[in-house]
């Protein structure tokens, strides 16, 4: 699907005229569908590329443009009668591409503009004589080349995987995918960079001002999580800038709360206060975590597309897989609901297992149940030994004893074998040992 769209798009853009920038508000008819009444002119390549098509009938001089010819003719002091052009209506002329096999070779797909067909011929079937100095792009048509060199290197979006885009929309599109792939590597890096304590304190500090930001975050591009600075994965300059405005945050925070009190529940009416255009946009660019070389491989296709074709239009072709509507949406200001600001991220500590992980673990551990119908896929025994007493010193140590805890009856047997119980004090009133703790490694035996 992507390929089809690209080719359609490229054709349209190439043929539509001298302007390579496809920003046209007016609705254009599909190119290459000419007026059926028009006269079809087939020029040979030589004639097509000939520079002087307009000939003066008096002296035979050739000119590139009709206007120039007219100007020249004035100089001949023609009698009035001869000055007039032939009065008959000039039939509309459409041109076909002389190249065999080209789509526009067929009269039904002829193009109405001579300049257009010339350019098409050059671009598609000509050699690329013009080369951009800054990058390696080559162009067959001089105007394309000129247009490109104007924008080359001026505004660039660079994805962290190294791909460069001149258009914001294609950049954003790429980045969305690029990061989805980068998640895993990012997470691995994050895990290794975990600085919980520092993270927490910073976080709490930033909590105050940034909490207010929560509400205004959708209205103004203010704070990003300062904690991110600790995180070596943060690379965005804008984040850095933002973090240096804590005082601003404070003001806004207090303003927020005042507003909230005054307006009661109307929290989102804060938007009115801040006169934002996009309720949920945070314009700070967020940069994805550093990619690995895997990106290069995955995004070769994008790069190829970037480098093969000359015009910027090609980049828009990349984003064309999105519908036209979408492209507009992307092309314009970031639609609301999206945020480019980093939300405060509480580093979920690796020290604490997440609840989902715990549940999975519990499910793995449990093998038998006394009441199978009730415990679903947990397979845990229902009547378990609840909390037992533990001697303080024993805690955390000696978990092998846990291995032995089965149902109460079996527990009693194993009690004897446990080191804990040697003292006899350690029996709790259940008559079993201390085990109140589940030790991860020894959990296997526990119920």
């Amino acid at each position: 699907m992507t390929d089809e769209v690209i080719s359609t798009g490229s054709t349209k853009n190439q043929v539509s005229g001298s302007n390579p920038q496809p920003v046209v508000k007016k609705k254009r008819s599909l190119p290459g569908n000419p007026d059926p009444e028009a006269e079809v002119i087939a020029l040979s390549p030589k004639t097509l590329m000939a520079t002087n098509r307009f000939l003066c009938e008096i002296c035979g001089k050739g000119f590139q443009r009709d206007q120039n010819l007219q100007l020249h003719r004035r100089g001949h002091n023609l009698p009035w009668k001869l000055k007039q052009r032939s009065s008959k209506e000039v039939r509309k002329r459409v041109y076909i591409c002389p190249e065999n096999g080209c789509v526009h070779n067929h009269p039904s797909r002829a193009l109405g503009d001579l300049t257009g067909i010339k350019k098409h011929f050059c671009r598609k079937h000509g050699e690329k004589k013009w080369k951009c100095e800054k990058c390696s792009k080559r162009y067959a048509v001089q105007s394309d080349w000129k247009a490109h060199s104007k924008t080359c290197g001026t505004r660039e979006y660079k994805c962290d995987c190294g791909t460069i885009f001149s258009r914001r929309d294609s950049f954003v599109t790429h980045r969305a995918y690029c990061d989805a792939l980068a998640e895993e590597t990012a997470r691995i890096k994050a895990a290794s960079h975990m600085e919980n304590h520092a993270g927490h304190t910073n976080y709490h500090f930033s909590l105050g001002p940034s909490m207010g930001q929560r509400f205004t975050s959708i209205f103004e591009p203010i704070s990003c999580n300062p904690q991110k600075i600790n995180d070596p994965m943060t690379r965005s300059l804008t984040l850095w800038n933002m973090s240096q405005q804590p005082s601003q945050n404070q003001d806004i925070l207090s303003k927020n709360f005042q507003e909230m009190h005054q307006m009661g529940i109307s929290i989102s009416s804060l938007g009115a206060v801040y006169s934002c255009t996009d309720p949920l946009v945070n314009p700070c660019a967020s940069n994805p975590p550093a990619p690995t070389t895997t990106y290069q491989l995955n995004w070769d296709f994008t790069k190829n597309l970037n480098s093969t074709k000359a015009s910027d239009d090609q980049l828009s072709c990349n984003s064309l897989p999105l519908s036209n509507i979408n492209a507009k949406e992307l092309g314009g200001s970031a639609p609301s609901l999206f945020s480019t600001q980093h939300q405060s991220h509480h580093q979920s500590s690796t020290a604490n297992m997440s609840a989902t992980a715990l549940l999975q673990k519990a499910a793995e551990i449990g093998a038998t149940t006394t009441d199978p119908s009730l415990l679903g896929n947990f397979g845990l025994k229902c009547t378990e030994n609840p909390v037992q007493n533990a001697v303080t010193t024993r805690l955390g140590s000696d978990l092998s004893a846990l291995n032995q805890l089965q149902m109460y009856p079996s527990m009693r047997h194993h009690i004897q074998n446990q080191e804990n119980i040697t003292e006899g004090e350690t029996r709790d009133f259940l008559g079993v040992g201390i085990q109140s703790i589940c030790h991860p490694s020894s959990i296997n035996g526990w119920i």
Binding site: I218, S268, S286, A334, Q343, T392, R427, F429
Partner: protein, 473 residues
């Protein structure tokens, strides 16, 4: 702390052990060492305890359940890690359930409860802010609407729970940038609170004015189950889109117990699915949807593990609602629902599913908000805690939070005359963009038969699907 109950306890049954524990109140703090438990151990322990306790609650063993709750309450805490928090809310729910056994007690305790409307409204905004789910739902809905309404001149959107202007502002912006120009947009917002709707109206009108989009907002203050479709004022020629974000499941509430008792042919085992008896029971309730094909379709439903209440093809409130909606011939209906089965007839079944589901939700919240955050606590208590309480402790018509998985919803919509509209590639792009822009790590979106499942790591949490109404043969 040493207990020296001697050998008498060795031979006691578990029940006895429980009561033994209750006999030793003077132990002071019996759990000093538990403070030093590693969180992982504590978490696993909590899970085991919770399940044990819930079993007692389900079986009606009040005393044992009480002891269990006591133990868990020492370990659980609304300020601790995810597992501790979840445990705290679950035991609250279990306790509430137990208390319902004493109706007088329960009523007396709840008689002076004040509902702070402002807080309720605030917590919904907080949920929107802190979790990506609503944002994702809105983005998916908007993109789907955009695509479906291509070329339409008049678009009428019915928002089943209108409280967040950002949702529609985003759509307004997208519509204003349409190549053929924006359509005439009418949004009918439904909410139980008038203030919220006033707010919406103001904000949206303002935005539409700025963008120069012809716009109209119709507020409707009503509960969904009492909705009168005539009020929606849908005129012919308007292309109707419906947006339902987590709103449809309360319509599944039925009086399970009564139906169960009345149905003669229903096998009392919770896992069986019988149609004949039920159909004969309430022919008029099922409305126009009774016919052989429907039975076969439903019978083919793969999910037979869990018992949904008495296998009514469509519960009455839902049926009448869908019927009314289909009368509008909506061009698009985008439904977002929780993707988990919290509608099982059995408590334990629901508890297990709920544990997994809320564990993921709490974990997700943990990753985006610090523990000390009051906002997070509000979301956890007033939103999640409330849901948990409803799932665990309520029954029958009171139990509104009847979340069900997408594969249960699909036959319902199909029966009601809707055909699925697969969510396109562009919708996925937008959703991924959103996740990326907020840098929400850990959330994933899976595609299943043209519908999206939003997951936290691998735990499915919410489903989004799109439907259009077709005349059924």
């Amino acid at each position: 702390m040493v207990q020296e109950k001697g050998s008498s306890s060795v031979s006691s049954s578990p029940l006895h052990l429980f009561s033994m524990m209750s006999l030793s109140p003077g132990l002071g703090s019996p759990f000093p060492s538990l403070q030093e438990m590693r969180s992982e151990d504590r978490g696993l322990f909590l899970i085991h305890l919770l399940i044990a306790c819930a079993n007692h609650v389900a079986a009606g063993n009040v005393e044992n359940a009480n002891i269990g709750l006591e133990y868990i309450s020492h370990l659980a805490s609304p300020d601790g890690d995810s597992m501790q928090r979840i445990a705290a809310y679950f035991i609250e729910a279990l306790a509430d359930r137990m208390l319902k056994g004493w109706t007088g007690l329960h009523k007396a305790l709840n008689s002076t409860k004040i509902t702070w409307m402002t807080e309720e409204i605030l917590v919904q905004k907080l949920f929107f802010e802190f979790c990506p789910f609503l944002k994702l739902a809105y983005v998916i809905t908007n993109q789907a609407i955009l695509e479906a309404m291509e070329g339409e001149k008049v678009v009428h959107i019915i928002d089943l729970h209108s409280f967040e202007p950002a949702q529609w502002i985003s759509l307004l912006q997208a519509l204003s940038e349409r190549p053929e120009g924006p359509p005439h947009l009418i949004i009918t917002g439904i909410n139980e609170q008038k203030v919220v709707l006033d707010q919406m109206a103001h904000r949206l009108s303002q935005e539409a004015e700025t963008l120069d989009v012809p716009f109209q907002f119709n507020p409707i203050v009503s509960r969904l189950e009492n909705l009168d479709v005539e009020c929606l004022r849908v005129k012919s020629g308007e292309a109707v889109a419906l947006s339902s974000v987590l709103q449809l499941h309360p319509l599944l509430a039925v009086d399970d117990e009564m139906l169960r008792r009345n149905s003669p042919m229903v096998n009392k085992s919770p896992n069986s699915v019988h149609f004949q008896g039920v159909l004969q029971l309430n022919p008029h309730t099922l409305g126009d949807f009774l016919d052989k094909d429907m039975i076969n379709t439903y019978g083919a439903s793969p999910d037979s593990e869990s018992s949904s209440p008495l296998s009514l093809p469509i519960p009455p409130k839902m049926a009448s609602f869908l019927n009314a909606i289909s009368g509008l011939s909506p061009k698009l209906m985008v439904v977002t629902e929780q993707e988990s089965n919290h509608n099982g007839f059995n408590l334990m079944e629901r508890l297990m599913e709920a544990l997994k589901f809320y564990a993921a939700l709490f974990d997700g919240l943990e990753s985006t908000a610090p523990r000390a955050s009051i906002e997070r606590q509000k979301i956890e208590k007033m939103l999640f805690g409330d849901e948990i309480k409803n799932i665990i402790s309520c029954e029958g018509l009171d139990r509104k939070k009847r979340h069900e998985k997408l594969d249960k919803w699909i036959p319902r919509f199909e029966l009601a005359g809707f055909a699925k509209v697969p969510l396109s590639y562009h919708v996925m792009m937008q959703a991924k963009r959103l996740l990326h822009s907020y840098n929400y790590d850990g959330y994933k979106i899976k595609v299943e038969n043209g519908c999206f499942i939003i997951c936290w790591h691998d735990q499915p949490l919410f489903s989004a699907s799109a439907w259009r109404f077709r005349r059924y043969s």
